[in-house]
Amino acid sequence: MTIAELMRQPSAWLAVGAGEGPVVSSRIRLARNVKDAAFPGWAGAEECERLWNRIEPAVRRVASLQPAESLAMGALDELERQILFERHLISREQAEKTKGSGLILRRDESLSAMVNEEDHLRLQGMRPGLSLRAIWEEVDRLDTEIEQRIEYAFSPKLGYLTACPTNVGTGMRASVMLHLPGLVLMNEINPVIKGMGKIGLAVRGLWGEGTEATGNMFQISNQMTLGDTEEQIVAVIEQIVQEIVEHERNARERLLERRETVVRDHVGRAYGILSHAHILTSKEALDLLSGLRLGIDLGILSTVSRRVVDELMLLTQPGHLQKLESKALKPKERDRYRARLVRERLTGSDRRRGEQIKE
């Protein structure tokens, strides 16, 4: 499978048109290491390549990953690695690696294994909506299949041993992506974020470019990996997310009740700018697309489908945009191509009739 083929399918973390409401997707990542081998960051390039040659054939063949694809980072160019990063299949750290590092994924992207990132293995499951329990079952099964072939570094007292002691124990990071424009617009997001911290959960904005929560997208995840069971970690996050979703729904209801014109104006302006702008930064695009998503959820915007909005959230990212245009673009150029792409997708206009972007 090539990266171009990958781009023709919806990303597992931003599944196109998945249900309505604030929950975008869920993800679980397990850190695992091979017994008696130095961790990738300390092992050196040669050793990492040896490890990749040993781990790759074993992991590629496990039942859970079928039909499996294997992508060696060294065989991909920078843009292709950026695209994998934007699809949440590899980390930024791994996107900078080349030889001795790679990704093995099931074709639908919902189950994958990063090899030689910070740890020898980072197993990952992703699904739309709030589905941590189902993901845990699947990732657990994948992990059990792999441990039949590879012996892990494990200590009865400390659990799975990881390069960074923040991950030791279960090695598990469970996270849920939430779209919370209601709480942001009602100025009620800060107490929610504070509350999360008190119970040991981390909240962060999703995208790096722009303000702390571009597009009103937040990611909630556990910080602690040692002491609780995997089931306990999953249960706490699922419960808290349900509470946040409740808050968000309330905030949206009150918004509509008390400030209906303001909300309609917010959504309408977002649509107006997106369908007419000729220069769009990544941050501006995501913030305005968030407005459209809210409008669709609230039933006050019917001319755009949720599918188109979700697709644009991914395609306006720098890597996807450049691959789509089949050329490298400088940031300023990207802003113009991005605006054209958004106009085309929102208004259904044809590129051949659309204006050419002057180089």
């Binding site: 130095a38 300390w42 980390s91 400390l158 659990g159 799975y160 124990g169």
Partner: protein, 170 residues
């Protein structure tokens, strides 16, 4: 807004981190964010913060150059990166761990999943211990028939303990 680190470039990476219930904001340019290893989509690394704050170093002198016998990582290497070199580092730098684990985690004891070969091993070693005790008792009571039966059971148990490992070696 200027980057808090280099104070030159425009800050485009804005991170909100929650540490012990307090919201901490960090404004960096992309270059500095990348340099400090901030993975924008990854989990927060509180090691970096903790190590940066210099969690009490147990008397810096004698073990300043403590080294992992397996991977030769030195204590100073670990302090620099916050990452261990290999699984044996957890033993080699065991003294560093309690304050770190305490600050990072719920407890210092794993209660989650155990690899199946590991749980086999744990179960087998408990069984082995109990068989051994029974055999000692049988010998002391000069019940040699029983002792011989127990010895066979111990041999079988030992074999089972080694099997999964032998099979797994690639």
């Amino acid at each position: 807004m200027l980057c808090e680190s280099c104070k030159e470039n425009e800050a485009t990476v804005h991170l909100t981190q929650v540490i012990d219930g307090a919201i901490k904001k960090l404004h960096l340019c992309e270059a500095c964010a990348a340099k400090s290893g901030i993975d924008i989509q990854g989990p927060l690394s509180i090691t970096d913060i903790l190590l940066g704050m210099g969690i009490q170093k147990p008397a810096d002198l004698p073990d300043a150059e403590r080294t992992c016998p397996r991977c030769h990582m030195r204590r100073t290497d670990f302090k620099k990166t916050g990452r261990f070199g290999c699984a044996a580092c957890y033993e080699a730098f065991a003294e560093e761990l309690p304050p770190l684990l305490k600050a990072m985690h719920r407890s210092d004891h794993h209660t989650g999943k155990v690899p199946s070969r590991e749980s086999l091993r744990v179960r087998a070693s408990a069984e082995l211990e109990s068989l051994q005790q029974k055999m000692d008792k049988a010998i002391a009571a000069e019940n040699f028939e029983e002792a011989a039966r127990l010895r066979d059971a111990i041999v079988a148990c030992r074999r089972r303990m080694n099997e999964p490992e032998a099979r797994a070696t690639p």
